[in-house]
């Protein structure tokens, strides 16, 4: 069945993009606060009692800060006052907060770009698995997946562009290792310069994207050619390139997650980080497939998709949510238990400054899907799957938020105009590209060798 993007949906996508772009533009324009502005802001905050950190360390910082405040005036008149150290501390703190505020719109934009890129990359891997496993249940959903993966090429290029721009036209707002000034004073980063350098980062990123986009291009081409073929040659070709792609994918996905996410904390590393990001992207990918399938089915465009297909997608949402939690916990528990200073600092920052998003995310990504999708009947109810799906997507946005923000903005985080504006912008772009791609081919693959099995699929 042919799909035509409705005017209302196209308009929604465009409005989202425009509103989002306004929000992003506003947040970039207002983020350039000066040293004095930050100073007065901090002074006001400490007078009014601050909403952010209730931790004792924060209070001591505030106290020393106030002392510094008091001595600051004397400092102006008397250059040789005894409170030199306090003043240095104060300048450092204000500078730190100022940089965090400059970093916020960059990070918010980057997180939203990565989040939507991650959805389509997860779907691409899921799509390749369907072919490599010669799955019989899913061919009716393959065109939906192809629509979602259309976003991968532009989406991934945007992520790489933002990352690279932050180190060239920006002021090293996301990756501190891009700053030669920082590297000059940092022995640990100096040891990693062979991998963590700007041009290596760019070239690796382009190689990853080229590989993913090539697979997506050829698999889509063969999938459409298969509709008109009278043998299974195209299907067999896709089977072969899918197997090869999956090998390529698991290496490049892992390296991508070190480059694009883990390196925001260049001192810290985790050996299962690639798997962790992978689990998150699979959950988001399958959830998005389910949501878009339900949308199209609601319009009567996928009449052959039955509730057993939905049941299987919901099973994957449930399973990958548990898998994600397993990896999250494996990463957390070992670091928490061994308590090695250079490792555990990663979680200390998150628990002290990001308590609500850090623990809230576990409720949203684990407890919520666990309880809601456990019952097999609930997995067949569209509104249940939609509700859980929206919660899972929101939870995984916060997951990416927790991976990037603590390294770039520290305790100066908030979900405000920069974050929401960026999300709206990329949501609009995603909807626009995905639904335009869905119009380009019939929504049901007609001559896929397994399509009959998929039509009669029942559990």
């Amino acid at each position: 069945m042919e799909y035509k993007i409705s005017n209302r949906l196209r308009l929604t996508a465009i409005i989202l993009m425009v509103v989002g772009a306004l929000g992003v533009g506003y947040s970039f324009l207002t983020s350039h606060v000066t040293f004095e502005e930050v100073e007065t802001m901090l002074a006001n905050e400490s007078h009014h009692g601050d909403g952010h950190g209730e931790t004792t360390t924060d209070h001591t910082v505030k106290e020393t800060h106030e002392i510094a405040e008091g001595t600051h005036d004397t400092h102006k008149t008397d250059e040789h006052s005894g409170s030199h150290e306090n003043v240095d501390e104060h300048t450092k703190h204000v500078n730190h907060v100022m940089h965090a505020m400059h970093n916020r719109p960059w990070s918010a934009f980057y997180i939203a770009a990565f989040f939507f890129m991650m959805i389509s990359l997860g779907v691409l891997a899921f799509y390749a698995i369907q072919y490599a496993a010669q799955a019989g249940w899913s061919p009716l959903l393959l065109r939906v997946m192809e629509g979602i993966t259309a976003y991968l090429l532009p989406g991934a290029l945007i992520v790489l562009l933002i990352a690279f721009a932050s180190g060239t036209i920006g002021h090293y707002n996301i990756f501190v290792w891009m700053d030669p000034e920082v590297v000059a004073h940092d022995k640990l980063i100096q040891g990693k310069v062979g991998w963590l350098n700007k041009y290596g980062f760019l070239i690796r990123g382009l190689v990853f994207i080229a590989g993913w986009a090539a697979y997506r291009h050829f698999s889509r081409k063969f999938s459409i050619a298969q509709d008109k073929a009278d043998d299974n040659k195209n299907f067999k070709k896709t089977f072969r390139i899918s197997a090869a792609f999956l090998v390529f994918f698991i290496y490049t996905e892992s390296m991508m997650s070190w480059d694009w996410i883990m390196s925001v904390d260049p001192h810290w590393f985790s050996t299962l980080f690639g798997w962790y990001v992978f689990a998150g992207m699979m959950v988001c990918g399958v959830t998005t497939i389910a949501l878009i399938t339900l949308y199209l089915k609601g319009k009567g465009l996928l009449p052959k998709v039955n509730d057993s297909h939905l049941h299987d997608l919901a099973k994957f949402m449930f399973g990958f949510s548990i898998f994600w939690t397993y990896l999250w916990f494996s990463q957390f528990m070992l670091i928490w238990y061994s308590n090695i200073p250079e490792e555990v600092t990663y979680f200390i920052t998150r628990i002290e400054d990001y308590k609500l998003p850090f623990f809230g995310m576990i409720a949203m990504n684990f407890i919520f899907p666990l309880l809601l999708l456990m019952n097999s009947d609930y997995k067949r109810m569209p509104w249940f799957v939609v509700m859980t799906g929206v919660m899972i997507l929101a939870g995984h946005y916060i997951d990416v938020f927790n991976m990037i923000m603590p390294a770039t903005v520290g305790d100066q985080w908030y979900i405000g105009i920069p974050e929401i504006g960026s999300m709206l912008f990329f949501a609009g772009l995603f909807i626009f590209i995905v639904f335009t791609a869905l119009t380009k081919a019939p929504l049901e693959p007609t001559r896929n060798p397994f399509v009959k099995e998929s039509e009669h699929f029942h559990y």
Binding site: F329, F332, M333, W336, Y337, S338, N339, M374
Partner: protein
């Protein structure tokens, strides 16, 4: 057994059996039991059996396991003999929770799995030293057996079953 007389229809193909079950149900006959050498997909629905409640039982067993693990670890590691392991304070269950999660998980799975299997055996009236109820040993190899109680409608049932492709139809008198 409620009735003294039952009819045994034997089939040698699961698809034929499924079709036979549907036509027997369409004629509104009660099927007492079906013996198969392997699980036949969709047979329970065709026979009109109530859906299984073992999933609910399993969930409850899992909750029991989680509770047992929590109470047990709290008693052993916090109340009875607190130990300092790896510099972790051991006087609060909540603060030490990450260390106990693997045990909580394992006992949840252990209780759910084992009690579910035991429940399944008991519910199926299977226990050690139980004499097999299987009326025909061929159903453990390659034959399917459908058992229908007879209420004076022997002839009618016989005709219906032979139409459905049964390879053998026997009338059994249960004297007990």
């Amino acid at each position: 057994m409620e009735t003294s007389k039952v009819i045994h229809a034997i089939y040698n193909d699961d698809d034929v059996l499924m079709a036979a079950v549907k036509s027997v149900k369409a004629e509104k006959h009660h099927i007492e039991e079906i013996y198969t050498p392997f699980p036949v997909h969709g047979l329970d629905k065709a026979m009109g059996l109530a859906p299984t409640r073992i999933a609910i039982a399993s969930f409850l067993y899992g909750c029991v396991g989680l509770t047992v693990a929590t109470i047990m670890m709290n008693f052993i590691m916090i109340e009875d003999w607190p130990q300092n392991i790896g510099g972790k304070p051991s006087f609060s269950y909540l603060e030490n929770m990450p260390a106990f999660v693997p045990i909580m998980f394992e006992l949840t799975v252990f209780f759910a799995a084992h009690l579910m299997v035991i429940t399944f055996y008991l519910r199926s009236r299977m226990w050690p030293f139980k004499k097999a109820e299987n009326p025909d040993p061929r159903t453990t190899d390659d034959h399917f057996l459908m058992e229908i109680p007879v209420h004076g409608n022997e002839k009618e049932l016989h005709d219906l079953l032979s139409q459905t492709g049964a390879v053998e139809i026997n009338i059994i008198d249960n004297a007990h």
